[in-house]
Symmetry: C2
Subunit: 327 residues, 2 copies
């Protein structure tokens, strides 16, 4: 599969979306790591769209909640890595039954989810090696193309250029963190609790790292603390020995992340900080920075995870329940 | 303040909302425990409204994200207990500046937030003794009155009747849990991590208990796990000694909560289950059960919190940072 093939699949989906009469709402629906990828999508629509509302739901929540507005003026965007997540297949079927247009992202178009949606867009999974066929990149292109067609939004070309250079940018960012990644593995391998913290579009990678990497793959207690919420409860848990990974992004909500970090730095000696201001993004159009930073965080966090897993002797592939039994 | 005074404040707000031309979106905006109260509001609008979209934002996130759709066809509902939360005052001012109609709930109408909104509705704070002047009750009445006027929704009277009987229902529910509440304090007072789990409208009280009670007031690590997300990461943290408080509600998403509990029961010996099917709701109109259950959970969880605090010798009023310094 080539990037140009994906771009073509995006165009087919956009043509169909443009034929939806009076399109009002986009529902972003998925589970777990795929749901985390939807969070920056809502950030993007909130920031850029004057005509579309958007919502993010876990697939089972979506089907059982059954929003009364869902109908022929809705676009439902689903995603599942292998396309076999039963709740997400059901969500796609549920959405179609209610007259919504469905677009799905998966690595396997022949999967049940790939078959259940009106338009399927393929992506490539490569969590430790960035490339522009990753789901997060495909989502950016899909949504900015939609906004270009629907509202004359002019950012598509710059964002697409940014996305096209993701491999070398991520490689250099990860390389610049090499020492910190090594220290992280050594210093945190015996922790039983590690928090993540972020806001805006970066809440997606923070959530993914908390529930998919730390809890699922490393059996470490975690919680993705929203940086704006930190001061309204969670900050009381901060102590000299409380590990918190804080993302400082480049989107409109960075002031929340900075404020939360300034506080946790005063009272915890265990702060891990990933600051996008240190990233060399000089090769990317400035307009794209707000939107690609969360993608870079995803890869950078994966490099931290790889090292933690190695130092713990607990490979990221190990599970005790997932895929091993019915649930 | 009498319930009838609150009802009158609701009517004033509704009159103004009905004058909003082409009302499209409701933004529910608050911080911490007040934000938790907004989550069931979105559930309600999702379930009942065919014309309105709704979103829930932390106040700082709302202002910094600055949704492009926000405007004169928006209703922004804010809430702050004392009305002094700076981010929420700012959110109200931000919303008004963008032409939105603002309605605010607070215990102090003379507070900065009370003064910043177009329409202020008073509520009473009494976390350990249920009454129909509580914020959660006022929200139900406000939103069902709005839907009655705007869409001819017919549930207001039954929900209001349900709300009016909340005191005796909660008293009997809490009394029926007396033994379990005592055991909880004894058995969990030395835990360093306690999770909560729920979905739908009950995610609100689960979130509030995790971040405001456990993290803020008891310095216990926590995370409100969404029951539908549990199987896509968090469930791998489940072990024989992992404490999880699961809410089994009566709303449309109960199947998610039941599925999550069925799994965690297999692998953890530390399940605390609050099952609304055991509540005696026979005095409440059946239509109201879906919506008042989350309110009952709020009070019942507070009774658990009171006992835990007592057995830990760590009063719920103790803070190390909140209100004690600038942040």
């Amino acid at each position: 599969m080539k990037t140009s093939d994906i771009d073509q699949q995006i165009e087919s989906a956009i043509s169909a979306v443009m034929k939806v009469n009076g399109l009002k709402d986009i529902y972003f629906v998925a589970c777990g790591g795929s749901l985390a990828l939807m969070m920056p999508n809502k950030y993007l629509i909130d920031r850029e769209s004057k005509t579309l509302s958007s919502e993010v739901y876990n697939s089972a929540e979506f089907v059982q909640r059954a929003p009364a507005r869902l109908g022929s003026d809705s676009l439902v965007v689903v995603s599942s890595m292998g396309g076999t997540t039963p709740e997400t297949v059901e969500a796609a079927e549920f959405a179609r039954k209610h007259g919504a247009l469905t677009v799905g992202l998966t690595t396997d178009p022949s999967s049940p989810m790939g078959q259940a949606v009106d338009y399927c867009i393929e992506y490539e999974l490569s969590p430790s090696q960035a490339n522009d066929k990753a789901a997060a990149c495909v989502f950016l292109k899909l949504l900015f193309r939609l906004l270009a067609e629907k509202e004359g939004n002019e950012k598509y070309q710059q964002v697409a250029t940014g996305v096209s250079k993701i491999t070398s940018v991520v490689d250099s960012v990860v390389a610049s963190h090499a020492d910190r990644i090594r220290d992280f593995g050594q210093q945190y391998k015996r922790e039983s609790v590690i928090y993540t913290m972020a806001s805006g579009s970066n809440y997606g990678p923070a959530y993914s790292f908390a529930i998919c990497i730390l809890m699922e793959m490393q059996w470490i207690h975690s919680n993705a603390i929203h940086a704006g919420e930190y001061f309204h409860g969670p900050f009381e848990i901060t102590d000299f020995d409380t590990p918190i990974i804080t993302l400082l992004g480049l989107d409109a909500t960075r002031p929340q992340e900075e404020r939360a970090l300034a506080f946790s730095r005063k009272f915890s000696d265990r702060n891990i900080v990933l600051d996008a201001k240190e990233f060399d993004l000089s090769s990317l159009p400035e307009v794209s920075h707000e939107y690609v930073t969360q993608i870079i965080f995803g890869y950078l966090l994966r490099a931290y995870a790889n090292r933690l897993a190695e130092d713990k002797g607990h490979p990221l592939t190990v599970r005790r329940y997932m895929w091993k039994m019915d649930y």
